[in-house]
């Protein structure tokens, strides 16, 4: 059967994640790998919205913030179990996404970008101002994540948790785009009127994928908070949203592999550029401009076309 062929990309990713610890010399590198995985999962969700469905969100860090602060506030102030808090955060982010999505997705293009931008900024401001619960701009500590007597500690344990989550997300995202739901999503990007005439309720699909990406962003916000053990409002700010959109665009819109590559590269780049001391932002910006001028469709689609001929067989 072609089961092996279908799951080849998944097996390759599993092998990479399994073998990676052999070449990671110390906790510093583990830390970078963990951050890459966290970003990759968020970017996978965001790429479904931006790349596959052709919509935009400049406020996704807001959802990450909701998850992170749910995991910080609910256990600290209300004594909730961290896992329950994580789920409550994801449910809360989904609810916010669901409430604003209907009016927001009547908009298109620049207007949609502005509306999502506003949403992200509002969430960031609320987090900054509700200092009684959030600690304001100084942030707050987050208790450890655990179940029964066991809690996740140290980079090595977190690495395996994130490796598992990334594998699942990668598998689920690939399944999704090759399903009736996923095809409807891509079709409304291709032609809204044609997909409507085929029976696709386009607003419903845009709303659904927005909620889904918000859900995963919030979960990853919680994971980030528990992993670092501390949250500040920066996690929800506009620059974080932009960073994530950049990962989608540089890696490649509507490309599952591109999401991974974009997250890995743009997480590693600031570290790699630290030798430029003070000029790293300039170099970073130049690389982005170079990418956009010479490969506007993103790294993976451009390279796949140049070398593979056919591109990804999603």
């Amino acid at each position: 059967m072609n089961l092996l062929r279908r799951h080849k990309p998944l097996l390759v990713l599993a092998a990479v994640l399994l073998l990676l610890p052999l070449v990671l010399p110390n906790n510093f590198y583990y830390d970078i790998a963990i951050r890459m995985a966290i970003n990759a999962i968020i970017v996978l969700g965001l790429n479904l919205l931006i790349g596959f469905a052709g919509q935009i969100s400049l406020g996704h860090a807001g959802f990450i913030g909701i998850g992170a602060y749910a995991s910080a506030i609910l256990p600290t102030h209300f004594g909730w179990h961290p896992l329950l808090a994580m789920l409550a955060g994801a449910a809360g982010a989904s609810a916010v996404a669901a409430i604003v999505a209907r009016p927001i997705f009547r908009l298109k293009g620049h207007y949609l970008a502005m509306a999502t931008l506003g949403l992200g900024i509002i969430i960031a401001i609320v987090i900054k101002n509700e200092a009684t619960y959030t600690g304001g701009p100084d942030g707050m500590a987050v208790p450890a994540l655990g179940l029964m007597n066991f809690s996740i500690n140290g980079e090595k344990q977190w690495y395996w948790v994130l490796a598992g989550l990334l594998l699942f997300s990668f598998w689920a995202a690939r399944n999704l785009i090759d399903s009736p739901f996923g095809r409807a999503l891509r079709a409304l990007h291709g032609s809204e009127v044609a997909s409507q005439v085929m029976g696709v309720d386009i607003v419903r699909y845009k709303v659904a994928i927005f909620i889904l990406s918000a859900f995963f962003a919030s979960l990853m916000g919680s994971v980030t908070a528990h992993y670092i053990g501390f949250v500040t409002p920066n996690i929800a700010d506009f620059f974080h949203s932009i960073e994530l959109v950049t990962m989608v665009v540089v890696g490649g819109m509507a490309s599952i592999y591109g999401s991974l590559i974009g997250a890995v590269l743009l997480t590693a780049l600031p570290q790699a550029l630290s030798t430029f001391e003070g000029w790293e932002t300039v170099v970073f910006g130049s690389i982005l401009m170079f990418c956009m001028i010479f490969m506007p469709r993103g790294l993976v689609p451009t390279l796949a076309e140049r070398f593979g001929g056919r591109g990804e067989d999603n």
Partner: protein
């Protein structure tokens, strides 16, 4: 009973009355053509019936039930499908996937099941893939089935739209200039294809400029001019109607 009933249908865009007081009805199983000079309101009429535009006045009934102003996706559920004059192919997908989208309403669209790839869903998708390939063969596109839509030639994309519309298993199919921009050989092939579709029992409503094709395959013809109904009848009746001749030749004979 007529499958489709249109009564005093009108729409105005600002001061322009694109369609004015048009009435006609389409019996099941026939090929019904709408003709008229450029700008006569043929595509606007299609957009009104298929829910893309909401009429300013008038009534549209499918099976006797009013559908005026119903959203396109809800009309698809009731057995309506269409193609577009200006191609509306999803260029970000493969040819086969485009056809598969046509069957959207016949599938399990659950998000969670899709993410976890439930076996039932995977099985149905595999089956659908075969059905879609069969439809591509039906419209004469078997050579293109694995290609990305954006690498297909124009003539093939026109057929792909028909295959996609057929994937919905419609009762009534609206074809908006399926032969526009095609050469005479391709036009003849589309002509055959439309007849094949009609023979399969699907009611076809056709907008077309190619008079040979229209006269050839239509059971009834509606002639529009400046948004108004100029004439209606069989090919013979329409051909002999002095108003029609005047509109097409510019003066009465």
């Amino acid at each position: 009973m007529a499958l489709l009933d249109v009564e005093n249908l009108s729409i105005a865009f600002g001061g322009v009355k694109a369609v004015q007081n048009v009435s006609f009805s389409v019996d099941p199983g026939i090929v019904y053509s709408v003709i008229g000079p450029n700008g006569a309101g043929k595509t606007t009429l299609f957009n009104l019936i298929t829910g893309v535009y909401t009429p300013s006045e008038g009534e549209i009934r499918l099976d006797g039930q009013s559908i005026a102003g119903t959203a396109p996706h809800a009309l698809a559920l009731r057995g309506m499908a269409r193609t577009f004059q200006n191609l509306q192919i999803c260029m970000n997908m493969t040819a086969l996937e485009n056809v598969m989208v046509g069957a959207h309403l016949k599938l399990d669209r659950n998000l969670i099941k899709a993410m976890l790839r439930f076996p039932s869903l995977a099985r149905r998708d595999a089956q659908l893939r075969d059905e879609a390939r069969e439809l591509m063969r039906f419209v004469g596109l078997e050579a293109y089935w694995s290609l990305s839509a954006n690498s297909m030639p124009y003539g093939a994309l026109k057929r792909l739209e028909i295959a996609r519309a057929l994937a919905a298993r419609p009762r009534i199919l609206f074809l908006d200039e399926p032969a526009a921009g095609l050469n005479s050989k391709e036009t003849a092939e589309i002509d055959d294809l439309v007849q094949k579709v009609a023979e399969s029992g699907i009611t076809v409503v056709l907008v077309e400029h190619d008079m040979k094709m229209v006269m050839n395959i239509s059971d009834r013809i509606l002639v529009l001019d400046y948004g108004k109904k100029l004439a209606e009848g069989t090919a013979q009746e329409v051909r002999e109607n002095p108003d029609v001749i005047a509109a097409y030749l510019g003066s009465a004979v």
